[in-house]
């Protein structure tokens, strides 16, 4: 039992398929970690109920990285060198996910994130991260798409950006939006910032109100975006508001209130206006298990798990390298966040929808992208 770094029984003769779960279950961004996990657990329940993968059940090895990136690294080490997981899912945020990639590369165990959107997650200056995958859009993809939407659909010329400067998500989106918007003739007249967990935005809104602009772009998550929209509308700012998939949560409506949510557009993976039976079933199952509407993170967690399960089923052997190869060769995977194939950079190729809200309900959708 004390043989060094010999992973516990795994591979083809293992009874079960161990998947590592390395999520932010406590600490500053626990919301996203917990939401991902809910989706994952739903998926596992369904897979196991259907007999598992080739007869083997999935077991999760779940750890809480406390929203601490170093802890994420340590836990990745733990699950890969001691627990013998075949693949790992999480963390939720780009930073923490990136912190586990070197461990994955070293141990040749694939890691998958449902929600790490930063541009350089799977490829960076040093090249492709062979063992890292994700199933969400990158910031540049969404930022560009929303800039195009602002210019082409809304005919906006002047934009204000109010970004979450404490997350790379917010900063990444802001940067890409601005580049694309200004490249194509728009101007960003003001850039304001807040930090995650702020609740008071009146000061920047009052300032912004003094400027002339056509749209406000809010790269950030629904927790703050909901309040910003509410406070903006209360101050009488009624320019269109743009956002990205961080807006997708029933909480946005609760926070902002229906009246405030007019002329609000955000990019997303799917829309509830979709009548895709897969999506409808997911929403129904999720509601049955958790008694609430799913949000984007729930859906992405659900898809991430199924994505891994799909690859495990297709893998030649039950080891990290084979599963990695299977993940990399995924084609037309049908997820609730859209169907996608994995490109050579280990990013999903999927189309983006821009959802428009009217009185808080999804009203219009337009599709762009591949």
């Amino acid at each position: 039992s004390n043989a060094p770094s010999q992973p516990a029984a795994s591979g083809d003769d293992a009874e079960e398929i161990k998947i590592g779960i390395n999520y932010e279950l406590s600490g500053g961004v626990a919301t996203y970690g917990q939401a991902n996990l809910e989706g994952i657990e739903l998926a596992v329940e369904q897979i196991n109920a259907a007999g598992g993968i080739n007869g083997k059940k999935i077991t999760l090895v779940t750890y809480d990285n406390k929203s601490d990136h170093a802890e994420a690294t340590t836990l990745a080490n733990r699950m890969m060198t001691q627990d013998g997981v075949l693949a790992a899912i999480g963390p939720a945020t780009s930073g923490a996910f990136k912190a586990t990639i070197p461990v994955a590369e070293k141990n040749q165990i694939p890691v998958v994130s449902g929600s790490a959107t930063a541009d350089d997650v799977t490829v960076d200056a040093q090249g492709l991260k062979e063992y890292a995958f994700r199933i969400c859009f990158s910031d540049s993809y969404q930022g560009t798409a929303m800039a195009d939407f602002a210019l082409n659909t809304l005919n906006a010329k002047k934009a204000v950006i109010i970004m979450d400067s404490s997350s790379d998500y917010g900063k990444g989106l802001a940067k890409n939006f601005k580049e694309q918007f200004e490249k194509n003739g728009g101007t960003v007249v003001a850039e304001e910032a807040y930090v995650a967990k702020d609740t008071e935005f009146n000061a920047i809104l009052t300032k912004v109100k003094g400027a002339e602009f056509d749209v406000i772009f809010i790269p950030g998550y629904y927790e703050e975006a909901g309040l910003i929209i509410k406070q903006a509308r209360a101050q009488g700012i009624d320019a269109p508001v743009l956002g990205a998939d961080g807006f997708d949560s029933p909480v946005l409506l609760e926070l902002a209130g229906a009246e405030a949510l007019n002329d609000v557009y955000f990019s997303n993976h799917y829309s509830s206006l979709d009548q895709d039976p897969l999506v409808l079933k997911f929403i129904e199952d999720f509601k049955a298990k958790y008694d609430k509407e799913p949000d984007a993170f729930n859906a992405l967690g659900y898809d991430a798990m199924n994505f891994v399960a799909d690859a495990v089923a297709r893998a030649e052997k039950l080891d990290g390298t084979s599963i990695k190869d299977a993940l990399a060769s995924t084609e037309n995977f049908a997820g609730v966040t859209g169907s996608f194939s994995i490109d050579e950079n280990h990013n999903p190729v999927k189309s983006i929808v821009v959802i428009g809200l009217k009185n808080g309900v999804q009203d219009t959708i337009s599709r762009t992208g591949e």
Binding site: L25, D64, Q82
Partner: protein, 320 residues
């Protein structure tokens, strides 16, 4: 009598060598897998942080909530240098430059703020750390919120133990010197200390600068073990975590800091198996330990010193 009062303290070098050798053996034979090693790295970094904060808060009595700020300076400077010079000399240069930069900032910040006392100093240092963090969050060179990635990894057991032991030994040497005693006297009674000729401001700043220097080293080690750095790592709660170790171990006890760091690492590692309730149990453990031992695990006593004294006495008795 003289021998009892005046210890040369060679034991600690022998002890350090011994620990290093055992560790090296475990590494070579492969018993120390990546997981254990990364836990060990976190532990050693915490030890350096706690020991250096203990110098400031425990020994000199200056309540600081800004240790994470110094750590982040060491980390970023080291990362920026070692990313440009990805060799061992580059890494060492990075760690040392980072530590010096942290010490320098400690000096600049300490000079005006160390006039403040108690809780006022605490929020000034907290503010200082927040300012540093926000600067890193918005600087181009540090890549803002996304932080630095792909920092070359040089930390192995040799460097880790070298830096950890030298931090402990140097700080303990400092404390057992005239300069260190001056710091302690300030904690005990600043007015009395001044009345016996101790330049309180000078020594407070000295302790602050030395503490910041070692926190900078801890930051450098962090950067070059974990490959990445981000401003969120150095928030208020990290400073609090370090303070917890110091108080839990015993204000004014270096060995206490080491023991507390180890204990908390054990508790935290054990609790990894309970992801849902991990932090709840951790909090309970913290409260219970404090209630059971309000003075900290070691009080203000030192482990090694007492052992030595014990030996000394036995030998004397045997001799006479």
């Amino acid at each position: 009598m003289m021998n009892r009062l005046f210890e040369k303290g060679r034991m600690k070098y022998i002890f350090a060598l011994l620990v290093f050798a055992i560790g090296q053996l475990l590494v070579v034979t492969g018993y120390l897998n990546d997981y254990l090693f990364s836990t060990l790295t976190t532990l050693c970094i915490n030890i350096i942080l706690a020991v250096s904060l203990n110098l400031i808060t425990g020994f000199t009595g200056q309540f600081s909530l800004g240790h994470a700020g110094f750590m982040s300076i060491g980390g970023y400077v080291c990362a920026l240098i070692s990313m440009r010079i990805p060799t061992v000399p580059g890494f060492l240069l990075g760690v040392l430059t980072g530590a010096l930069a942290a010490a320098f900032v400690g000096f600049i910040v300490g000079l005006p703020t160390l006039r403040l006392k108690g809780d006022y100093l605490a929020i000034a240092t907290l503010g200082m750390a927040e300012i540093i963090r926000i600067i890193f969050l918005n600087l181009k060179i540090t890549n803002g919120a996304a932080g630095l990635n792909g920092i070359p990894q040089f930390v192995d057991w040799m460097w880790l133990s070298l830096f950890t032991f030298s931090s402990i030994i140097l700080i303990s040497n400092f404390i057992r010197s005239a300069h260190g005693r001056a710091c302690v006297s300030i904690r005990e009674d600043e007015i009395a200390a001044e009345s016996i000729g101790i330049h309180a401001t000078k020594y407070k700043v000295t302790a602050f600068v030395i503490g910041a220097f070692f926190a900078g080293i801890a930051g450098g080690l962090y950067a070059s073990y974990f490959y990445f750095l981000r401003p969120t790592l150095f928030g208020f709660s990290r400073s609090i975590d370090i303070l917890v170790i110091v108080v839990l171990g015993g204000i004014g006890s270096l060995s206490g800091s080491v023991i507390a760091a180890i204990l908390l690492a054990l508790i935290s590692t054990y609790l990894q198996a309970f992801p849902e309730l991990r932090m709840v149990f951790y909090a309970v453990a913290l409260v219970v330990i404090m209630i059971v031992r309000p003075q900290g695990l070691m009080g203000s006593k030192e482990l090694s010193l007492d052992l030595l004294k014990g030996f000394g006495r036995k030998r004397q008795r045997g001799g006479s």
